[in-house]
Subunit: 434 residues, 2 copies
């Protein structure tokens, strides 16, 4: 019997994080971290499922679930082996469907839905292979990796041959770096101290704790009030001393000229990077800001819609740190393209995480990058926020400021059954009782 | 009694256009033109409703409807007069909602849903004022118009003061241009001859008919096969003679280098513009193409996600004709911003139309631009495709290659009740019987 994909189960899961002001920033004062959750079911006798999700911050998570449901005809009823053996083709079918692509193209709700399904398929593929996703990817040949990437719209910046060269160049050290990763983990930084909703005292305490826990970089949210930001920067710098790096994150709050003047006010406290200074669509605006605020460096990516926009950020020298997100673009395949673009341009990738489950996902991509693409952790850190990990079957493990390499098979994407049940919206006990 | 908005009714309406290959191009071989349709209901005693829609091409129209439904809490229950008197604030509330904006931000399904609701509110406002929308807008003061525009992320290219200057500069001739418009209409061009699914004989006949009907420009779809395109260009040029302009539309089919070489093959036949040569997100790619294929000019816009991306196309000199779409961005307010940006950069706006209802909507924006913004029809034409107009209460009227100015109150967005009923998906007779 050939196994088939028999179902695409979805769930609207929301965590009431706005009740605690965790995650508050200048643009997102009251997020309820949410997952439009997708489960791939099969009739294989291994009992395995593929789990994936799109991340949202509350309202509209139902629309995101509807967009995932619209993909059911593309996967359900198909032969499992054929699908998992050629995820490059599956990605193209989903992204380039002639009718669905009108809803983006390649952006927003429709694109994130594809990301959830693609990531769920990768979770299942890795589970069936008995490997964590980072390792499964890092053991593919350069040819297998580029077959997963769609080079449409990229060839003026990165061709298939150039991508192969990058991957072949990184092949010799794979085993050594895998051992290093399993021993030391991958560097992390923390955003936990810096939310706008926190008091100065809490900021001070959390900064000290971050240093004690070994994080080499911490990040503050800024952009609501300049005087507050100057005061909070001063507090943070006092607490961490001159050697720990401090980044700031404006969450798209500013226009170009405001960004430049605001950043210049904070620069004397020592800024490692300034993140999302303006609209994530504004490549040219970021380039103007980057050139004006140098040597402060610009970082962005969590809201960058797709690989074509990242290509332009790199071409225009509009960012110095590329912050890919595991659930914003169309899943693993598109992030492979983005990692290869970053490598081509020599820009370090420092993935966005936090929310719910984003740390769990993105660690795999960073670790794959280290082993098989960039071959380096220089200037590279993965964001870490200490929220909601307890709800996952295979939560991230941080030790001495490093993500420890996952060893369980899969993409670490799976929520515990009771977490799904309790936070189901609007009927789960967390919401129905509220 | 103060009137309230009492309901937001939605409908999934699809026309089976794929059965006839109308609308087939290199990226969209089999569209079913569809509307995610929104109706604003009130308890006012005038019996008026506001109609609007997002346009899609079939699959996923249900997701688009779900996104419109998610906006119900933002409008239903509110005082009608307050909403209609301050649509600038309503636009900001919808677009900048701190949770919903994660779904874009400002792009794709979520943004088009806002466009449908905003356009429905404008339809209702114009009906209550007893005026066609173009005229209602063209009679606003410059201050009232800029109050409708959100300048966030635009101020490095266009400030409120600069927009006011543009509008004040166009004030003196408003009455004269309104009279001209009511007398002559607004220039149109036709895409009807050029769909890829048509035979050479049909192309030949439709080209002749287009010239006979007075269109100064016609457009061919290209990008599937170069030899076919050369042959079809030759046929079209033979039929229309040297004076009628021919544009070509690749519907995003090419990478940058392919676009350049393909366009150079077609250029000897005389190209007025090349439309959508590559990804609509690729500002820098378009700029490279534009500079390489000059004097052939680049046009794009129907898939440009928002005003921030248009701003960059203008800054980068990546387009010579700006093809705004009435239902892709967040409705009338955002298109006011786009018209003002185009005026600032001196770029003619040649709106995208076709599909279902897009001609009906966009004529109002072009006519408003003529009367109150650019003050000119030089180099400007509105796309016209002769499909599906019979389903509208107030369909467009074309005479001597010109859109005749609508005189009925509203935004011409309203589908006939029987059209809604028959094409309702999946239960209407057109679909249930198929």
């Amino acid at each position: 019997m050939t196994a088939l994909i028999t179902g695409l189960r979805t769930c609207d899961v929301r965590f009431p994080t706005s009740r605690e002001l965790d995650g508050s920033d200048a643009m997102n004062p009251d997020p309820d971290y949410s997952a439009a959750y997708a489960v791939i079911e099969t009739d294989a006798d291994d009992g395995l499922e593929g789990h994936g999700f799109a991340f949202t911050i509350g309202r509209g998570n139902d629309v995101q679930v509807a967009a995932i449901r619209a993909l059911e005809p593309f996967v359900v009823g198909r032969q499992l082996g054929e699908v998992l053996d050629d995820l490059g083709s599956v990605w193209r079918e989903l992204v380039h469907d002639s009718q669905l692509r009108w809803l983006g193209p390649e952006k927003g709700v429709a694109h994130m839905a594809i990301g959830a399904v693609i990531n769920a398929l990768w979770d299942l593929k890795a589970k069936r292979a008995g490997k964590p996703l980072w390792q499964l990817l890092a053991e593919l040949s350069p040819e297998q990796i580029v077959d997963l990437v769609d080079f449409r719209y990229l060839t003026d910046a990165l061709t298939r041959e150039e991508a192969l060269d990058i991957l072949r160049g990184a092949e010799p050290g794979r085993a050594e770096r895998t051992a290093e990763l399993l021993r030391d983990g991958y560097p992390a930084y923390t955003t936990s101290p810096g939310w706008l909703g926190y008091s100065d005292e809490k900021l001070r305490r959390l900064c000290r704790e971050a240093v004690d826990r070994g994080f080499p970089l911490l990040k503050l949210k800024v952009g609501a009030d300049l005087d507050d930001d100057v005061r909070r920067m001063r507090i943070a710098r006092e607490e961490v001393g001159p050697d720990v790096r401090i980044a700031v994150d404006a969450n798209q709050r500013w226009d170009v000229s405001t960004a430049i003047s605001w950043i210049c006010e904070l620069a004397p406290f020592g800024l490692w990077w300034v993140e999302e200074p303006t609209s994530p669509d504004d490549v040219l605006g970021h380039a103007t800001i980057a050139s004006a605020v140098a040597p402060v460096r610009v970082a962005t990516g969590e809201h960058v819609a797709n690989r074509v926009v990242f290509k332009q950020f790199l071409q225009a020298k509009a960012l110095s740190f590329l912050q890919l997100d595991a659930a914003r673009v169309a899943g693993v395949n598109e992030n492979l393209a983005i990692l290869l673009l970053a490598a081509k341009f020599g820009v370090p990738v420092c993935p966005h995480a936090g929310g719910v489950g984003l740390c769990e996902l993105v660690q795999h991509l960073a670790m794959f990058d280290f082993v098989a693409v960039s071959g380096s952790t220089d200037g590279r850190v993965v964001e870490y926020v200490d929220h909601l990990h307890e709800h996952f079957v295979d939560p991230v493990v941080i030790r001495d400021g490093h993500y420890q390499a996952p060893r369980r098979p899969g993409f670490s994407a799976q929520l515990r059954p009771e977490a799904l049940r309790e936070h189901s919206y609007p009927d789960g006990p967390v919401w129905a009782g509220g």
